[in-house]
């Protein structure tokens, strides 16, 4: 990595960055007083009224979450410019199963990943000799433990729930990948995959700090642009539930004692996809009203990690029995994690 020379455009970049950081902190700190002022003073709603409470909650949460999202996506994207799929593959090369599964799941968090690239990534991994199970650990962790979900959980419920989600995602990825590896299903990978010999050196990019900053800013625009509407709608629904639905209303349906709630949550989650951003605030409201944490996390992982579009993409390289096993193993691992958290917490 080259040290960034203080050329004119670089100087401008750093000044812009400094101003942006200061503006971010100021904005983040005036959100709460501003939301209270609008709801209770400007609109004159009573502090303990349903409407006042819901509105203040909404006006506080939306800007707070969008600010958090922009700031954290920027930081995470900077980190991710140091991890490419090619580098991850090199790090995983030669690791045995077990240790390999753990590494693959961890690297799945930091490696930039888009499900549209799942196939070249899959081929690139297995072709270089990385075991099938280890490859799957990566392919489960990468989309499931995604930055938007983690940031929203952190912003809305604090670091404990966010950490719990990361731990459950890792557990599911490691265990499911390990089991698939033990099932020895290599012959259910499409034959053409084994015949591919990629030539030459892997592509690697040289990036300056200015490139990294620019790249990170691009992903902020892309991700926030894509999810902001879901976040607003999700928080609006969450705010409505917060103000109007009585406490413990859901305890009997989604609480711990309802054993069937975990599999049902996972099954409902499978067809729901890509609304990860909108689902987190709703999920939060569910927890608040008595749904158990394990059931709720299982639901979230199922929505984010088990997606039909990804199945369609992976169908190009996996024969049906392996594709079904892949889905079934993840679904079971998610359910077990859901039960585990219901039992422990």
């Amino acid at each position: 990595m080259t040290v960034l020379p203080l050329t004119q455009p670089n100087k401008r970049l750093y000044i812009t960055l400094t101003i942006a950081i200061i503006a971010w902190f100021i904005a983040y700190n005036i959100v709460q007083p501003l939301a209270d002022w609008i709801s209770y003073s400007a609109l004159g709603l009573a502090r303990d009224s349903h409407l006042g409470e819901s509105l203040a909650f909404f006006l506080y949460d939306v800007p707070k979450i969008l600010l958090l999202l922009s700031g954290m996506v920027f930081l995470i994207s900077i980190v991710r410019t140091f991890f490419s799929p090619e580098r991850t593959r090199a790090l995983l090369g030669g690791k045995a199963e077990g240790v390999g599964n753990i590494f693959a799941a961890l690297l799945g968090i930091v490696t930039p990943f888009c499900s549209c690239s799942a196939v070249p990534l899959f081929i690139g991994f297995v072709e270089s000799g990385i075991p099938l199970g280890v490859t799957f650990s990566f392919l489960i962790a990468a989309p499931t433990i995604n930055e938007v979900a983690i940031i929203l959980l952190f912003g809305l419920f604090g670091w404990k729930v966010a950490a719990l989600y990361i731990v459950s995602g890792l557990t599911v990825a490691i265990v499911a990948g390990f089991i698939i590896g033990k099932l020895k299903m290599e012959h259910y990978v499409e034959d053409f995959v084994w015949q591919i010999k990629s030539g030459g050196q892997a592509f690697e990019e040289k990036m300056t700090w200015a490139d990294r900053i620019e790249r990170a800013w691009d992903s902020v625009k892309e991700i926030v642009g894509k999810v902001w509407l879901y976040v607003v709608i999700g928080i609006a629904v969450g705010a409505g539930i917060h103000g109007y639905v009585p406490e413990d209303a859901l305890a009997s349906v989604l609480g711990k004692q309802a054993w069937w709630s975990v599999p049902v949550a996972v099954l409902i989650g499978i067809p729901l996809y890509s609304n990860a951003a909108g689902i987190v605030p709703i999920v939060g409201a569910l927890i608040e009203k008595g749904a158990s944490v394990g059931t709720t996390l299982a639901f979230m992982m199922s929505v984010i990690g088990l997606s039909l579009p990804e199945a369609v993409i992976l169908k190009r390289v996996l024969k049906m029995p392996l594709l079904l096993t892949f889905f079934a193993v993840i679904a079971i691992a998610i359910m077990l994690t859901g039960y585990l958290f219901n039992w422990v917490l």
Binding site: S84, P85, E86, R89, P112, F113, C114, C116, S117, V119, P120, L121, I123, G124, F125, E127, F192, Q195, I196, S198, G199, G200, Q201, A202, F203, E205, R215, R316, V317
Partner: protein, 83 residues
């Protein structure tokens, strides 16, 4: 004469890359051929792991993102000088 290849199995981002490449070629008034590589065995010959990929005269210049027109202009200029 430049040969430009867009690697990717027809995703939305791949189409964006192709559009940008064609636009730059037109602006620079270059003689260039744009080929879409959509089959995975062919894509994997370039040893990339994220699509879309962009290849200029058989050299991979970008992978896994949409490059800016300015970047594409630089790569094409470089390739012209080397050719």
């Amino acid at each position: 004469m430049l040969t430009i290849k867009v690697l990717g199995s027809g995703c939305a981002n791949c189409k964006r890359v192709e559009q940008i490449a064609r636009k730059v070629i037109e602006e620079m008034a270059l003689e260039a051929e744009v080929i879409k590589v959509t089959e995975y065995p062919d894509i994997m010959k370039y040893n990339i792991m994220s699509t879309p990929g962009l290849v200029v005269n058989e050299k991979v210049v970008s992978s896994g993102r949409i490059p800016t027109p300015a970047e594409v202009t630089t790569w094409l200029t470089d390739a012209l000088e080397k050719a």
